[in-house]
């Protein structure tokens, strides 16, 4: 597609339920990121996928959170046994290959519209 697509756009769930959030990155983008943004707060890094390398999971807040990326494209973020403090907007971003300059640069992140999760 033309941009990063996330679904669902809104999810309301009950405490203790599992949820899955999906991200379709821009075609050809090899790196994919998940961030969490609580109401009125900045972006909190969760996890990073780069090609076939092992993902960087250093930002996942607990073992209830997990993510996978199938076929190097679509990614799913799973939250098990949701808690009220999990309520936030979950943002996915991807980055194009070949945009890197010098060593370890950032390049331009393309964000989706986010999935708003509300845990009752």
């Amino acid at each position: 597609g033309a941009g990063v697509s996330q679904s669902p756009s809104n999810k309301v769930t009950e405490k203790g339920k599992d949820v899955e959030l999906r991200c379709d990155p821009i075609s050809g983008h090899t790196a994919l990121y998940w961030y969490r943004q609580s109401l009125g707060q900045g972006l909190e890094f969760l996890i990073y996928f780069q090609g076939n390398s092992a993902p960087d999971k250093s930002g996942l807040p607990s073992d209830r959170f997990s993510a996978e990326r199938t076929g190097g494209s679509v990614s799913t973020l799973t939250i098990q046994r949701t808690q009220q403090e999990d309520s936030a907007v979950y943002l996915c971003a991807s980055i194009a290959p070949g945009t890197y300059r010098l060593a370890d640069p950032t390049g331009e992140l393309f964000f989706g519209e986010g999935s708003r999760l509300t845990v009752l």
Binding site: Y48, Q50, L102, L109
Partner: protein, 109 residues
């Protein structure tokens, strides 16, 4: 991780130039500085990126002093539509980077 510090909020009027400064005292040699803009209910959008000195594009300029411990995003002649949250991001791969808490810019008529 390089921590960033930005003002929480700023007010301006249409037509004025706005400068938002970000402090990043622990910036590493290979770190880039990137600014993003975020409107309500949308994901952040890339504005500009730089490593040192000055970078300019069609929407903004980025000033980075020689010590790179801070950076200033300059928005010329802002309009009401520039009201948004602006984030300073410092680092390499975004996964190892730190988004600041953002600066809420309010442009008044």
């Amino acid at each position: 991780l390089a921590k960033t510090t930005q003002p929480i909020s700023m007010d301006s009027y249409e037509g004025q130039e706005v400068n938002i400064t970000c402090s990043h005292n622990n910036i590493a040699t290979n770190d880039y500085i990137t600014w993003y803009q975020q409107f309500p209910s949308q994901g952040p959008r890339f504005i500009i990126q730089g490593y040192k000195t000055k970078v300019t594009n069609e929407v903004a300029s980025l000033f980075i002093p020689a010590d790179r411990k801070s950076s200033t995003l300059s928005l010329p002649r802002v309009s009401l539509s520039d009201t948004a949250v602006y984030y300073c991001l410092v680092g390499g791969r975004a996964g190892k980077s730190t988004f600041g808490d953002g600066t809420t810019l309010t442009v008044k008529p």
